[in-house]
């Protein structure tokens, strides 16, 4: 199959295992990826596990049945971090690695106060800390994400607050969620790039130079190329059409964001004013060909979650 088909199949498999093991986590531990095929234009599904015991027979059979193409299974032995991603060692701070137990790694966007009860928590994407609508009130939010653990043991720093905007609804508009910090969690509420994030938000209707600090690519710079963008995003369960989104193109000869940067706060490069919450990226375009980033407008995120920036 071609690369796009392999990506779709991988996402379908991830969705399958997420829903299947919602209440009964698998005893084994394995990871999915995309493997190069016999010729340069062909791809298959890569399955990796530390040992054979980590890949249950039932899971292996499901992967082979659902993948509609070649499956490359390899047992890797224990994998240790060679060079940790930036967000794995930040501590509980803007740009840190976070995730729901059932999610891949994402980014801690910012800290906020819930207006209804004045509790303090963190904001990231639904698909990072609420497992694409599966997450329930009180679910553990880990830092760093399990896959970023390495020598640092993931710890529960927050618990998901229910009632976040659902992705699977007739008119989804946002990919965001709030998790209340666990008592005793040390955190740095405002620092980013050695500066303080301003609580004064800015709309993306002017030519804005913006930045973000993400779990994977760290600090990058971009430019708002469009706003009020209506575009579909391919989640593991299907396509979601968002409206009124912010589009960002890279300002440097590198991508603005990569996998694991979801949830990053997008802020103005000058003044550190919040603009948006990054959640998606395109595979192409953006002038340089590195693709475009997509963010929810920050005012809509604050309103939907009923939170304010910490000052």
């Amino acid at each position: 199959m071609d690369l796009e088909s392999a990506r779709v199949v991988k996402r379908e498999l991830e969705g399958f295992f997420r829903s299947r093991y919602r209440n009964e986590p698998p005893r084994g531990r394995f990871w999915l990826g995309i493997a190069p095929g016999a010729v340069p234009t062909e791809y298959g599904i890569a399955v990796r596990a530390e040992t054979e015991a980590d890949l249950p027979d039932a899971a292996r059979r499901s992967i082979e049945e659902l993948s509609k193409g070649p499956v490359d299974v390899r047992f890797t032995g224990r994998i240790t971090a060679l060079a940790s991603v930036p967000g794995a060692t930040r501590g509980a701070a803007i740009g840190a690695s976070v995730a729901h137990r059932m999610c891949d790694a994402g980014t801690l966007g910012f800290f906020a106060r819930k207006i209804s009860d004045q509790s303090i928590g963190l904001v990231s994407n639904n698909h990072v800390i609420a497992a694409e609508d599966i997450g329930a009130e009180g679910d553990d939010i880990l830092h760093p994400a399990t896959c970023d653990g390495g020598a640092r043991t993931p710890v529960v720093i927050a618990r998901l607050v229910g009632g976040y905007p659902a992705l699977r609804q007739r008119n989804p508009g946002l990919d965001c969620a709030f998790a209340r910090l666990v008592d005793g969690t040390a955190y740095d509420p405002q620092s980013v790039d050695g500066q303080k994030v301003s609580p004064e938000i800015v709309a993306a209707e002017t030519l804005l130079e913006v930045s973000k600090v993400g779990r994977t690519t760290g600090l990058t710079r971009g430019r708002v190329s469009a706003f009020e963008v209506d575009a579909p995003v391919h989640y593991s369960f299907g396509r979601v059409r968002f409206r009124q989104q912010i589009e960002i193109q890279p300002a440097e000869n590198a991508p603005f964001a990569g996998g694991g940067d979801s949830g990053s706060l997008v802020f103005t490069t000058t003044g550190y004013h919040p603009v948006g919450l990054l959640y998606a990226g395109s595979t192409r375009g953006g002038g340089s060909g590195y693709g475009l980033g997509y963010a929810n407008p920050i005012d809509a995120v604050l309103r939907a979650l009923g939170v304010t920036f910490l000052t």
């Binding site: 190329s225 469009a226 963008v229 209506d230 579909p232 391919h234 990569g258 395109s282 693709g291």
Partner: protein, 72 residues
């Protein structure tokens, strides 16, 4: 390319959405930020044979082939 006001760009975006409704390669539409003003951003999954205008109702149109969009 003469930039438009934001109101003109919004109106052009709505009308262009109708015009491009059957273009299967269309990924999304937005308000483009261009030098000195605004335009309409047309994002395509792949190139299309449909003749997308460079100016629509006096508003500049910026076309970009962006592929598909995924959560990061």
């Amino acid at each position: 390319m003469t930039p438009a006001t934001i109101e003109a760009a919004r109106a052009a975006k709505e009308r262009l959405a109708d015009l491009l409704d059957d273009v299967v390669e269309l990924s999304g539409l937005g308000i483009a930020i261009v030098e000195g003003g605004f335009g309409v951003k047309v994002n395509l999954i792949t190139a299309t044979s449909f003749p997308i205008p460079s100016v629509f109702d006096g508003v500049p149109v910026v076309v970009d082939i962006v592929g598909d969009i995924y959560p990061l």
